[in-house]
């Protein structure tokens, strides 16, 4: 059910953009008003969400330790799976954020001949990593529409991305990879009964939306082409706060832009906030040095305890009989 609902929403967004731009005057609305609003919602939304997280303290230091602790000097310390210092935590976080270290551990648990067995299962890790890296490179590549003159490193990325030199305009691999990896993640969500069971519309929607954005981009680049110079003039106008109504750019561009705007608006209210949340996860971003450095809980409060005096009062005679020293005879 979730996937049909999400798919309908993405289709509806596409249709709205496609139909909308034919209405006189709506080009400004879809080309300028909506993107500005979307960026604003995105920026303010993300900041407010992170601020909300930040307002809740981390009362306890609870890293999930995934390797040998630092104890005796001759025992090999697993520095990046069980960090003891801030520096080691930073490396742990870098491995987590850029290489998906934890997901790399993934195993597939199965029952074979009445025994639980574990197989290596790196496909989720690989697809996840490719999806994110491709998306990131695609974003970087798009900076060519937002900076004038285009910095050389963006040209270099573009050249690397297109190194296979297939077709004109030359094929950019990350775009294909983004769709392929996203497609696999979608396939897995539908095909794996466990993952299907836990999936919500909120899981299908962003995936379909991102695939939709990538596909509209690919269509625009290779099939239903638009005047790229007019596009850049338009995007430069947006980012230099001198928006001009985009003239003579095809409807496909508006679809692309509208889906991106939808993603930006959706972002702060959704699971996509894992982008920020991964940095704030207390099981990953803290050192396991609780016994070395005291962690302070800002809301620590006094609790009702059972004092030694009360204990001795209750058991004094029994303690004396058993030869246990007491405070009051």
């Amino acid at each position: 059910m979730g996937i049909f609902f999400s798919f309908s929403v993405v289709v509806a967004l596409t249709v709205i953009a496609f139909a909308g731009v034919w209405i006189p005057g709506m080009q400004y609305f879809f080309g300028v008003v909506i993107p500005y609003l979307a960026v604003l919602v995105f920026l303010v939304g993300v900041v407010l969400k992170v601020a909300k997280w930040g307002r809740s303290p981390v009362p306890f230091r609870i890293p999930t330790t995934c390797g040998q602790q630092q104890s005796l000097p001759w025992i090999k310390h697993s520095k990046y799976d069980n960090p003891q210092t801030t520096g080691q935590v930073i490396i742990r976080m870098v491995l987590e954020v850029f290489l998906f270290r934890s997901l790399f551990r993934n195993l597939r648990t199965e029952m074979n001949d009445g025994r639980v067995t574990y197989g290596s299962d790196k496909i989720l890790w690989l697809a996840g990593l490719l999806f994110h890296i491709s998306f990131f490179i695609v974003l970087i590549r798009h900076l060519r529409f937002f900076i004038e003159p285009v910095p050389s490193f963006i040209n270099m990325i573009d050249a690397l991305d297109g190194f296979v030199q297939v077709g004109v305009p030359h094929l950019l691999l990350t775009g294909v990879l983004l769709v392929a990896a996203g497609g696999y993640l979608l396939f897995r969500r539908i095909n794996n009964s466990q993952v299907r069971h836990i999936s919500l519309p909120a899981d299908y929607f962003p995936l379909l939306l991102i695939i939709g954005i990538a596909l509209s981009g690919i269509i625009m680049r290779y099939f239903v082409k638009v005047d790229i110079v007019s596009v850049k003039a338009f995007t430069l106008g947006l980012v230099s706060l001198r928006p001009r109504t985009p003239a003579g750019i095809g409807a496909i561009f508006y679809i692309h832009l509208f889906l991106i705007s939808a993603l930006l608006v959706y972002f702060p209210f959704s699971k996509l906030m894992h982008m920020g949340g991964v940095f704030l996860s207390p099981t990953r971003n803290l050192a396991n040095n609780n016994r070395e450095v005291r962690h302070v809980n800002p809301w620590n409060y006094d609790v009702k305890v059972h004092s030694y005096a009360a204990y001795e009062d209750e058991f004094r005679e029994k303690m004396k009989e058993a030869g246990i020293p007491v405070e009051k005879e």
Binding site: M1, S102, L200, T283, H306, Y308, A322
Partner: protein, 547 residues
Amino acid sequence: MAKETTPEELVNVDYEAPKKDWTETPVEFREGMYCYGSRPVYLQEVGFPNPREWSPADEDWKLPENWKEIVLTAMEERLSKYRSFRVFMDICVRCGACADKCHFYIGSGDPKNMPVLRAELIRSIYRKYFTIGGKLLGKRAGARELTEDVIKEWWYYFYQCTECRRCSVFCPYGIDQAEITMIGREILNLLGLQTDWIGGPVANCYKKGNHLGLEPHAITSNIEYLLDDIEEITGITIEPSFNRKGAEILFVTPSGDLFGDPGTYTAMGYLMLLHELGLDYTWSTYASEGGNFGFFTSMEMAKRLNYKIYAEAKRLGVKWILGGECGHMWRVLNQYMDTWNGPADFMEEPVSPITGTKFENAKSTKMVHICEFTADLIKHNKLKFDPSRNDHLNVTFHDSCNTARGMGIFDEPRFIIKNVCNNFFEMSSDATREKTFCCGSGSGLNAGENIELRMRGGMPRGHAVKRVQEKYGVNMLANICAIDRAVLPPLMDYWAPGVDVCGTHELLANALVMKGEIKRTQDLRLEDLPGVEDDDDDDDNNEEGGE
């Protein structure tokens, strides 16, 4: 059930998730999968709310009239107090990496035991009452109404989680179901929804100082029994001290070690080791519990119970504290104690009086794990061993979830075992160290009435042991956890019959060559050491040594 359902039947687990939406599958309370509700007296003892007679099997759980308000207020409060809770509610992408990592899911196939879905039980309520999307879109946003059935579902599944954190190892964001379960249970406790098996130990520990409710004279007499056995085995008379002011070190261990086999053998191990070293240490009858069942109810209760350790250390004027082998005890000591009840500035930074080693990693908490302490002794050649006394044992090591994923003490116990045993074999790396599997009975689930749950949850561990039993002839499962010592024997009887269970310091004491000891013919279980001539030819002890 364990009696009726055979292991061959129990492994028929279907991992194919149902087509039906989980929110439309009402919770079904299956006998053998849950614990009894707490009797009111336990709640009254410590001042938990809503004490009353109730049973989870009842239709009416006799919740307080304003239960819904209590739950929502409690959620709101915890969202503002715990960044972990807030972030974990928001960022799960439901990738499913955790799904098949949970021992209860592996053993039961119940989709609500997938960590992600167990979290969704509470996340769906969070969405409904604390997010705009959930308020506006309802079910489409994965939100649902808070009803009594939801509370029952929470209770059933938050007590089918041992807070082992295995899911958190695999989660790309480190989302920790243990954290969510802990908060879920804390909220349930506000409605008086406690289990009897947790409620009892908590009440005992609060008033009497330990889970088992051993009063001071019972502690000393239990230890005296152990001392008698030690004397019989080694010919050495040991006189430990209790509540002694001015001792250098306070020794704290879970009370389970003083009560039942095979924990008692581990306690004998501590007594022998500490005597052999001539250590200036004392036991306490007031702080006579290292473990903390309060940790399975609420943070506040855990702090109230944990208070005694520092209070007693201060009263006795010790320099530092040595802690015995226990799992969740060390999660609490490592990650919570100093924050709750510190700073422990009335003590000194721990230094081994035998080797002079400074335990830098414990310089704030002032509490050292006995395996760290012992490993250091062995490294410095301070102990003499005859490992051949353990030659009849093929040993493997079970990492306890809490010491593995809430601390990371992996190589210290292994170092000890390898020095005192000649035959040590590792289980598969998919089931040890940070990927270790729970015994299936942690976090207060080691009751009798939920035995099917325990056997199911222990299935992955059972199978891993069975494999090394078949491959290497392993017959002894060593560990550093009191709950393990209590619950693994029945688990092994079920999944890997013929494998026995012991603490690490039991193995150590068996091999320990003590000054002035007689020729050892028996191990700590008073069983004859194979291949050793018994000069006294007294065979009666064979039988007594068993269960």
